[in-house]
């Protein structure tokens, strides 16, 4: 079976758009025709943790029932009062509340009171559906209350093929899951890049009360591959999800993560590290929506751009009415190494709750003068210093790898990028 040509027009769209001339609101993903569907996925997890195909949908439906108990629908009187308040000084003859399209869409999602409607995929529904189609059966990791499971999924890039995995994680109350996703390219040097292919994972996470889920995704494919990393997260009360994404390879990579912090005091942490070199393209989209009280999110992105690589990062923290005491934080640091790089960043905070704290920061630039001076005093030229900062991303990824497969993948990539790199990690 071969794929047909598909263009996903508005992948990884940020919830609140801005000027079109910036070309940042979303991205386009080209899925070429003629690719085979390659089942190049290895799964390693205890069979006891295998869940039913509809486990995620069932968990969300159960959560819907519980949520409705604690969040009754507004009464007719309350709705009337709200309407009257808005209408009091807003004359419909000159345009009502004049909400923008995204403000109307956001209200519609809340008014639906549906957890399923509010659940999002970071790269968008279309990209997730493509990966799900290519992946075939879902890998469902279901962990029972109080238990702990380590699982690993390795996706191997095959030239001329789509290699994808669709993973559901359902973590029952107070359980713990460590999921390692490795997207690898075990081709020999010289063979890579011969023909385009697609790798990808689409992951849905349901973290029930008090559950702890850690996901570590490492991507080190090379050549002309396109990689798509799609995630959708749901956190119930006191649940915590921590995601680390390491993006090193692929001619084009698309990373999208959406999270619904629904339960009170739940938390999502995202730590993203990336390297862009030659003419690689990097695209990131994050959308973290705070529904529960005292929820927290923390998004950290650190990357190096070299060569003529380009990167776009859209990060949205949405503090929705009712998430009292919530805290959203987002910080990005980008080091620009070469003249031809192109970096785009749009860190967004949407807020219609006053009892919250939201902050974001971004630092984009070159190596600071004092850093260069220090390195020069140690005999390192500017070029050597720049190269060092770029390879440090790969080195750190190898050091922090949580599984042998992830480490081997990073070291192999580092060696191709910089011969001799593997020597650093020889036993």
């Amino acid at each position: 079976m071969e794929t047909t040509h598909v263009t996903i027009e508005r992948a990884s769209a940020m919830p609140a758009a801005t000027w079109h001339f910036l070309n940042m609101n979303d991205t386009q993903i080209e899925m070429p025709e003629g690719l085979s569907i390659a089942p190049a996925v290895q799964v390693s997890e205890p069979w006891a943790a295998r869940g039913a195909a509809d486990e995620f949908e069932n968990a969300l439906a159960d959560a819907q029932v519980e949520w409705e108990k604690s969040h009754p629908a507004p009464t007719a009187e309350e709705l009337a009062e709200r309407e009257a308040y808005v209408a009091a000084e807003v004359d419909a003859t000159y345009g009502g509340t004049a909400q923008s399209a995204y403000q109307i869409a956001a209200d519609a999602i809340e008014e639906s009171r549906s957890l399923a409607v509010a659940f999002e995929h970071g790269t968008g529904d279309e990209a997730a559906a493509y990966l799900r189609y290519a992946a075939g059966d879902r890998i469902v990791v279901a962990v029972k209350e109080g238990q702990s499971v380590d699982a690993q999924v390795v996706v191997s890039a095959v030239p001329g093929a789509v290699s994808a995995a669709a993973v559901d994680v359902i973590a029952d109350a107070n359980s713990a899951v460590n999921l390692s996703l490795v997207v690898d390219a075990p081709t020999a040097p010289g063979q890579s890049g011969a023909s385009a292919g697609i790798t990808g994972t689409t992951v849905r996470v349901f973290a029930d009360e008090g559950a702890r889920v850690e996901i570590d995704r490492t991507q080190a494919v090379d050549g002309d591959f396109t990689d798509i990393d799609d995630m959708g997260l749901f956190t119930a009360e006191n649940a915590q999800v921590a995601v680390r994404q390491t993006v090193l390879g692929a001619a084009a990579s698309f990373t999208g993560l959406a999270g619904d912090l629904r339960g009170d005091s739940s938390r999502i942490d995202v730590d993203t590290r990336y390297l862009g070199h030659s003419d690689q393209k990097r695209d990131f989209n994050y959308s973290l929506r705070h529904h529960g009280a005292k929820t927290k999110c923390n998004l950290q992105a650190n990357g190096v751009l070299a060569g003529t690589s380009s990167k776009t990062l859209r990060g949205t923290i949405d503090l929705i009415r009712g998430c009292k005491g919530a805290e959203g934080s987002e910080n990005e640091t980008v080091l620009l190494v070469d003249e031809g790089v192109h970096n785009k960043t749009v860190p967004v905070i949407l807020c219609n709750e006053d009892d919250v704290a939201g902050n974001h920061g971004a630092t984009i630039g070159h190596i600071r003068e004092e850093q260069l001076f220090y390195l020069a005093s140690r005999g390192l030229s500017q070029q050597a210093a720049e190269s060092m900062f770029a390879s440090a991303i790969v080195e750190q990824a190898a050091i922090d790898a949580t599984t042998d497969a992830a480490r081997e993948s990073v070291v192999r990539y580092g060696e191709r990028l910089n011969p001799g790199f593997a020597d650093l990690f020889e036993e």
Partner: protein
Amino acid sequence: MAETKTTVTASGKKRTQVDDVDRSMYDFRYDDADAEKLDAGLTPDIVREISERKDEPAWMLEHRLKSLEIFNSIDMSDWGPSIDGLDMDNIVTYVKPNTDQKSDWESVPDNIKDTFDRLGIPQAERSYLAGVGAQYDSELVYHSMQESAAKMGIVYSGIEEALHGEYADLIKEKFMTLIPPTDHKFAALHGAVWSGGSFVYVPKGVKLDYPLQSYFRLNAKGAGQFEHTLIIVEDDADLHFIEGCSAPKYNVANLHAGAVELFVGKRAHLRYSTIENWSKNMYNLNTKRCRCDEEGEIEWISGSFGSHVGYLYPMSILAGRKARASFTGITFAGRGQNLDTGCKVVLAAKDTSASIETKGISKDGGIQTFRSSVVATPAAEGSRCSVSCQSLMLDDRSRSDTIPAMDIRCKNVDIGHEATIGRIGDDKVFYLMSRGISEEEARTMIVNGFAEPISKELPLEYAVEMNNLIKLEMEGAIG
């Protein structure tokens, strides 16, 4: 004066309530029966008639008609506040007051004179301005400049008057080059029906110690105001220009789609201060742009208070080496308002620098969005830009969004961005109370402190009307 009180939320936290600002001083209006109005709507005939009434050169009519074509061919942006309540078929694009432009205040008709008297414009002129222009609906009704400024070679006149004078060629060269009609739908509309506005020319090396001020008053119901401001500050010159706007409230939509084009020469400096205080039935779709040459500097001071819907993003194009821009802005959105404001910066030459500091306050269901773009082109080596944006939510019925974009295309730049959003912290109130300050006063002090870095930059001392406005609005916000 606005009243404040403190209420307790469901979660037990205290919240400062701020009453709406008393806008009665702006809401007076006069019958416009004596004014000449063109038909509502937008047609080539209306555009031709505007041009004919102004006895314009042929190129301007051509420009207007081309702009109208562009207006009809492009869509409204899909990312900002809705403008569904604005029906162009009902907007009167040209309203001529029952007078010609005067340079003697006493000759201005009583109703118009009374309007500007009540807004404090003549007092301001006498006290501390080097020149004043006053526009009423579509036309300037008064323009004057101190003799000393004229002797320095400074030109400050109506732009239409200047189109017939010695600067006609210069205006033709610059007009709508920074804001081309293709830029967006309402830039095209402006190009088609613009009327009134000021032309300022500051010759090389001339530094004016006192500001010039233009005041725009839209009196007619269901009308649009489309003034064009063109300012050229030549090399090594210096100018402070103040712009003020207001309108009475009606129960139909009014439209303001002005354009401001600023050219700052080498080592020149321009400070452009604006208070936009339109009534809450106004769609304010204003466009402002500045180009700075080598070592030139533009300072924007911007206060956005009124309007039902606002789209306002002054843009600085730093085209010359070491050109600088700063933007200091505050936006206050109350009930029934959706104000989308911010700024744009293009770092387009070596060693340029920009600094952006904004504050936003939203209350009573108001929606306030800070939107910005910082673009560093490949030519911007050695440039730097810092963006700081703080938003304060005074209740949980309101909305405050921050959408800052950065597009960096070169290596040796330093771009920093930071933003915070939240409410008045209980810990801060507690600290002040432990120093013997009452709770209400503590909350007032905190909000006052929040707005202070911006409000201290506003030209309070320059115009009585603005003084009143800031007093009302800020006291409204801070109790």
